[in-house]
């Protein structure tokens, strides 16, 4: 599965794109994030406070409970600051 990072999430993780094998047990975004946090201390730090993390699944805004079964692309990022 393709995971994208933007903003300070990207800065801290050190890359904007990763292709990751997601375990079958990871049903929703929260499960995916828990899986990432279990892999590496950096993820654990970035995703410690999920209130500052926004998520898009297949380029549509989603939340931690959104199912990821049909996801091709999941993006994790801070609140948006355009304009």
């Amino acid at each position: 599965m393709r995971i994208l990072y933007f903003g300070w999430v990207r800065s801290k993780i050190g890359t904007g794109t990763q292709d990751i094998e997601v375990p079958n047990a990871a049903k929703n975004v929260r499960d995916l994030i828990n899986h990432l946090s279990s892999l590496d201390n950096t993820y654990e730090q970035v995703f410690r406070d999920l209130t500052v993390i926004r998520v898009a699944v297949n380029q549509e805004m989603a939340d931690m409970e959104t199912l990821i079964e049909d996801a091709k692309e999941i993006a994790l990022f801070p609140p948006m600051t355009g304009g």
């Binding site: 903003g7 380029q59 990022f77 801070p78 609140p79 948006m80 355009g82 304009g83």
Partner: protein, 169 residues
């Protein structure tokens, strides 16, 4: 119409192109966002904007669609720049056109309010003390959310010339 680009834009040229020969337009509202030289008493040497290619365009098109459902609009243009910009440079242009001024002005404000916190852009500011990512402003969240509590009936009050618009080709 939505454009996400690195290049600067010429607001006057864009407005002329948008309105040329459209003699049913009575009002053109526009907003240009500029890089300021300081925020919160901190000097800004440059601003770098990153975005989520693909999703940005989808979201901006949806915001334009939402605006068109609320007001009777003729042409709509949003240009959002990405990449590195210096103080004084233009970041974003929103232009809305309608038979009457109220729809143009309100929808222009709606579009800029919505894209501030609803479109996948992230700003990084470079200052003499280093770079940092910009955090979202509570005022920007409020400005976006007030449109959701405002009923569409309220908007319809300002929504002149919809009869005319229906007849437009």
């Amino acid at each position: 119409m939505i454009r996400v680009q690195e290049e600067d834009f010429d607001a006057g040229k864009e407005i002329r192109a948008l309105t040329r020969g459209k003699k049913r337009i009575g009002g053109v509202a526009s907003f240009i966002g500029l890089v300021r030289e300081s925020t919160n008493n901190e000097t800004i040497s440059s601003l770098t904007l990153e975005h989520y290619p693909g999703m940005t365009e989808k979201i901006l098109e949806q915001i334009e669609k939402d605006a068109r459902e609320r007001w009777s609009l003729h042409e709509v243009l949003v240009i959002h720049r990405i990449g590195r910009m210096e103080p004084g440079e233009q970041i974003v242009l929103v232009v809305t056109t309608s038979a009457h001024r109220e729809a143009a002005l309100k929808s222009c404000q709606f579009l800029i309010d919505k894209l501030k916190t609803g479109a996948p852009f992230w700003k990084q500011e470079d200052t003499p003390k280093g770079s940092h990512w910009v955090t979202e402003r509570p005022d920007d969240i409020n400005a976006s959310e007030r449109w959701d509590t405002e009923t569409k009936a309220e908007c319809a009050r300002f929504n002149h010339g919809s009869g005319d618009l229906t007849k437009a080709s």
